[in-house]
Assembly symmetry: C2
Homo-oligomer: 328 residues x 2
Amino acid sequence: MKATAIANANIALIKYWGKRDKDLILPYNSSISMTCDGLWSKTTVEFGNYDEDTIIINDEELKKDEKDVLGHLHRIKKMAGITKNTKVVSESNFPVAAGLASSASGLAALTLAATSAAGLKLNEKELSMLSRQGSGSASRSIHGGFVEWLKGAEDDGSDSYAKQLADKKYWPDFRMIACIVSEAKKATSSRAGMAQTVSTSPYYDGWLKSIDKDLQHMRKGIHNKDFTLVGSTAEHNALKMHATMMTTKPAIIYWALATIEIMHAVMYWREQGLESYFTMDAGPQVKILCLEKDVSKITKNLSELGGVKKTIICKPGDGAQLTKEHLF
Amino acid sequence: MKATAIANANIALIKYWGKRDKDLILPYNSSISMTCDGLWSKTTVEFGNYDEDTIIINDEELKKDEKDVLGHLHRIKKMAGITKNTKVVSESNFPVAAGLASSASGLAALTLAATSAAGLKLNEKELSMLSRQGSGSASRSIHGGFVEWLKGAEDDGSDSYAKQLADKKYWPDFRMIACIVSEAKKATSSRAGMAQTVSTSPYYDGWLKSIDKDLQHMRKGIHNKDFTLVGSTAEHNALKMHATMMTTKPAIIYWALATIEIMHAVMYWREQGLESYFTMDAGPQVKILCLEKDVSKITKNLSELGGVKKTIICKPGDGAQLTKEHLF
């Protein structure tokens, strides 16, 4: 009745932005990501004779009003017919809720650990679908390497899950440099941000109409290991997502000064022949896409910018896995 | 054969973005602006026995490859049947081509001075239409106060001109604080930026579909002197314009670090009850909309931000006028 799982965060190259079903977490568009070996969450779940369900994330007990994680735990307990209370301890090696996909790694690790502790034997497709219901992007963290979350068409979500496009060994010199510019918790959650976008942005229609082309370019770019196509498509797609947010009422502007600083720097380096691209999620952090040969030059350049507090260099990583090293 | 005109720049509250006819400068959408008393261009035109056409802007002779101003001068000479060469001297009290609408004031002043020197008697509608062909936004600088440039529907541009919504005395406590964050000439001209937007942004369609609502809100806001409606509509519209640019291929990102710094500051002040809104044109400068009673508090707050080099406080200003004070 106890299991521990480790899952990597994933950073979307083509973003998930907007839900067609808020309860089942079904997206309006498919998305593609890279699972990052450097950004992990580790979660131990035990069902036992506890007085109540307790969830501790990074040494802090989850408040009862933070329903998402608790709701997901209850979903799994219900599936497995478990009535005992639960102790969950989770830790991540990066700031939570600051636009570094902590919910993806956290909910994927929780899903795998909890179903395993409960004795459920789920395959990867089932794990992905179940993780999706905890946090949409968690569906992608079940797999390693490059991953596509299929939006699906069914109302019950049975065809909305992630599949692997290529494993972590496929493109070993692909790198993503996560630039931490702020460790503050963001003012608007991804969930609230995307709901506001769908209901108020005059550009959300343009987002949906142009997303298939982005997805095609990204699949082709990954298939051909065409770094220019992957990078330019990812950057364009990220700018499109942020552009939809800026046009909501009220506007959501996740960018900090350092976000713009890094964006301009990346564009300038590219003009100078140092090929790199940026992407940002629902937060101020910038993730730079590059190839291994340019990492040292780019990190040196980054160290000269004022706003970069920390960099984490990621390569394509593993999908969610069970581990014997329990957290309690 | 010599005349001098002074014209104020105007800052759009609802932006002009995208041309349906590049030669006649006919826009896809109507726009609304405030003519700013603090940002002027003064231009003296003389037709005489000069060896060639010479145009001096802010003490610098215009290069022969900068066709816009010269082309406009030739248009007016042709209209008036003038064959003599021309000397033009123009000066502005603010940085040229950095997103402070220098082409609007410059081309409006040139149009009025040149037609006057040529002995043409044009009414304001004709002056606006003619100025429009030099630079679209110049059509609005012919008038003072709050101005709408009607997009028109005719192919020949005969119904595309600016009209005054309210004169400069109508809303005397309305203010616009132009925050200069960079005096560098921008990398992408407005003209190139909007052409690239129309041809490559997946959001340009959403811009056009949502513009009528913005125009309605702005007309209503000005009519009712509803500062909240004017400000929030202007801010939303500016963000929409910048959002279209970010999604072009390649992306156009006019914002500097200080641009974002001021945007966040304005949003924060508003949360604290200090009502103000921002708007940005095709450049990094931010223009803050506020009421006179809050100017001193806002300028004090601005002085505490790192990136603001200079502020210029504008109230609704006059339209283009002839003056006896020649520049040579």
